[in-house]
Amino acid sequence: MHELSIAMSILDRVLEESRARGDARVEAVYLRIGPLSGVDVEALRFAFEVACEESQLSGCRLEITEVPISLECPSCRSEKQAVSIQQLCCSDCGTPSPEIVHGRELELRAVELVE
């Protein structure tokens, strides 16, 4: 359950953005998360709620975009979706590929503030 420490990191970074704009109220936090980041989205939602309690982020929206896994397919010579996290091969031609393009994201994309 490392999602709590991840939630705390998000909280710290968002508070920094808010402080830089005169303690602006935080309406929403936007994240991009891939399945290969090692973070469970549902656990993170729960942890984020806990982390935000009694802070100025309490009650803010958490918008998570889940990024699908894509690979550089050596046969198609282009970026293709992977079949699944258990099967890292091209969903078009089935060629396995260790070259991951997307899916590792654990990114704080944006913050919605009211100044």
Partner: protein
């Protein structure tokens, strides 16, 4: 009332850890020490394998180990019989090591007096996958008694590791462990992954792994020289 405004951040949430890991990696390279970390579920044989590797490698190399656990210093006490420089990191309730814990543990160490550093992570196949420790290579262990489908159940840790090691091969027949299927599952979650099979108890396969680590040391040295 002012309207909400979207402020772009576009930053990795674990940026602090990643920056610290990068600076550790630079320090390791400058000191000429190859760093290998070990991850697995609890009881897969990390400490037993490390005991054997330390004993083998300490004939030729200056070698040290960091061991992570939630509590107790038992593992460090075990490893200290095989190598002089061993430090336990007790994480309390934290389920993984991070770059900051590694940096603190190394505070008084003279890295340029080392050739090899092994880092044993907390027994956990989930949380350690998100944290770069500045290591050159990450080894993931899977014991024959755990079942062939561990890679499919924990794909991320296999994906973030460089090498897979199937341990307790002496028990494979008794556990009806399908080694071919285990290999297929590993390749499915991490195509092209290098896999070793061994038994720390009988010693079978330890030589091959030791030679591999040694060869990686030469690779990293020549990379640093360039």
């Amino acid at each position: 009332m002012n309207r909400p405004r979207l402020v772009e951040v576009r930053e990795n949430i674990l940026k602090q850890n990643d920056l610290l890991a990068r600076s550790l990696r630079t320090r390791f390279h400058e000191a000429g020490v190859l760093v290998v970390s070990f991850v697995s579920s609890p009881g897969s044989g990390k400490t037993t394998l490390l005991e054997k590797l330390l004993a083998r490698a300490s004939e030729k190399f200056r070698i040290a180990a960091l061991v992570g656990d939630l509590a107790t210093e038992n593992d460090a006490a075990r490893l200290m019989r095989a190598a002089p420089q061993v430090k336990q990191i007790t994480t309390g309730t934290v389920c993984h090591l991070d770059a900051h814990m590694v940096e603190l543990a190394l505070a008084n160490w003279e890295l340029n007096k080392l050739d090899l550093l092994f880092i044993e992570n907390v027994g956990n196949l989930v949380c350690p996958s998100s944290y770069d420790l500045g290591e050159d290579l990450r080894f993931v262990l899977l014991s024959a008694t755990e079942g062939e489908d561990k890679p499919l159940k924990y794909p991320t840790i296999f994906n973030t590791s460089d090498v897979a090691i199937i341990t307790k091969m002496d028990l494979a027949a008794a556990a009806e462990f399908d080694v071919e299927l285990a290999h297929r599952n590993i390749q499915s979650v991490r195509p092209g992954m290098r896999v070793f099979e061994l038994s720390a108890k009988t010693g079978k396969g330890i030589d091959e792994l030791s030679s591999f680590i040694q060869s990686q040391r030469l690779v990293s040295q020549s990379a640093t020289a360039v």
